[in-house]
């Protein structure tokens, strides 16, 4: 098969794909075409979309490749799509961060860090498919252990979990300089 043809097919597959697709998946469809060729046409497509400043970009995310609009067009796309902006509350985001960095983790362990009950937030995150129960911990009561999903990676534009921003070391952390931290932390819960 001609390289041009492979490139064209891969572009079509990317266009119709629902969610990020792995090179492996393309290789399965394009039988007989080796991974290196697929990888290189994918790279070509990506560079082309980038350098021509096109309205779609090829992004490596959640273990695969996906066509996405560039951030610079966000406002127009949002206007076109209508609908409400989906904002994630602070409590939800923080709980999600704890799960992402400490997975697999139980609800009790999350609560130990946050200091408050997280049942509601955990349910919300599960409903949004950003976390899932991955197993049960082998301790009395066999509580569920939670971990993040591929949708989590997609949401935050991460190739994989190793791409998570590095957690700061303890001595790099400075607490907000407000007297009565505990109060302000609580007030931040729902915002």
């Amino acid at each position: 098969m001609e390289r041009e043809e492979i490139r064209s097919i891969v572009e079509s597959l990317l266009f119709v794909a629902d969610g990020p697709q792995s090179l492996q998946r393309f290789a399965e469809v394009l039988e007989g075409v080796d991974r290196e060729t697929i990888q290189s046409v994918v790279n070509e497509l990506r560079t082309e979309l980038e350098t021509q400043n096109r309205g779609i970009r090829l992004v490596e995310v959640a273990g695969g490749y996906q066509l996405r609009t560039p951030k610079s067009n966000a406002d127009w796309v949002k206007k076109f799509l209508g609908g409400r902006p989906s904002r994630m509350g602070k409590a939800t985001l923080e709980t999600l961060a704890i799960i992402a960095y400490r997975q697999p983790i139980t609800r009790a362990e999350i609560e130990a860090i946050r200091g408050v009950d997280v049942d509601g937030v955990v349910t919300t995150l599960m409903e949004r498919n950003l976390i899932r129960a991955v197993a049960r911990k082998d301790v009395p009561g066999r509580p569920f252990l939670y971990g993040t999903t591929p949708e989590f990676l997609q949401l935050f534009n991460l190739k994989d979990l190793s791409q998570l921003p590095t957690l700061k070391e303890m001595d790099e952390i400075s607490l907000p300089e407000i007297p009565g931290d505990m109060i302000s932390l609580d007030q931040l819960e729902e915002s």
């Binding site: 066509l67 904002r87 999600l96 960095y101 197993a135 301790v139 009395p140 952390i173 932390l185």
Partner: protein, 163 residues
């Protein structure tokens, strides 16, 4: 104080996460188009004996190592479970064989195998093959989330494990 600092680390991480190019806020992808429902291929479940013979094949392929080699790095079933789940998070299914691709000792084979069985027990994964004698596959099971959601409702008291 230490707990506050620990919590602050995650608050900072949350802020960093939020600054990333978020899907449906900063960047957009095609939404799923309705397609003809692809008929799910019929899979067969495996018997314990088939699994054990697959395990034996893996063990047979390992070089017969020195009789009493002491392995210093301890591998736990728990760790192997995490590794397997991580893999399944990225690739929704993997070949049974591939679990043992980088395994170095018989002990590690057994631990990996036990981890897999443990995950089957808690219904986090399913083991199947497309037809008799075709490669054995492991896939992450759906339904786990459902079970867990139930648990959130049903077990407001969670056992403190302090781990």
């Amino acid at each position: 104080m230490r707990r506050l600092l620990e919590y602050q680390r995650f608050k900072d991480a949350a802020v960093e996460l939020e600054q990333r190019e978020m899907l449906t806020r900063d960047v957009f992808a095609r939404s799923a188009a309705p397609t003809e429902e692809a008929s799910p291929p019929a899979f067969r479940e495996l018997s314990v004996f088939e699994l054990l013979s697959a395990l034996k094949q893996v063990l047979d392929r390992l070089p017969k190592d020195a009789v009493h080699e002491v392995t210093l790095d301890k591998i736990t079933v728990r760790e192997k479970m995490t590794v397997l789940l991580d893999t399944l998070r990225v690739h929704s299914r993997v070949y049974f064989e591939s679990l043992f691709a980088e395994v170095k000792s018989r002990l590690e084979v057994v631990v990996t195998f036990l981890a897999m069985l443990e995950l089957v027990k808690v219904r986090a994964v399913r083991i199947f093959q497309e037809e008799l004698n075709s490669p054995i596959m492991i896939e992450s099971a759906t339904g786990m989330d459902e079970a867990a959601k139930q648990a959130v409702v049903e077990e407001p008291e969670e056992t403190q494990d302090g781990a």
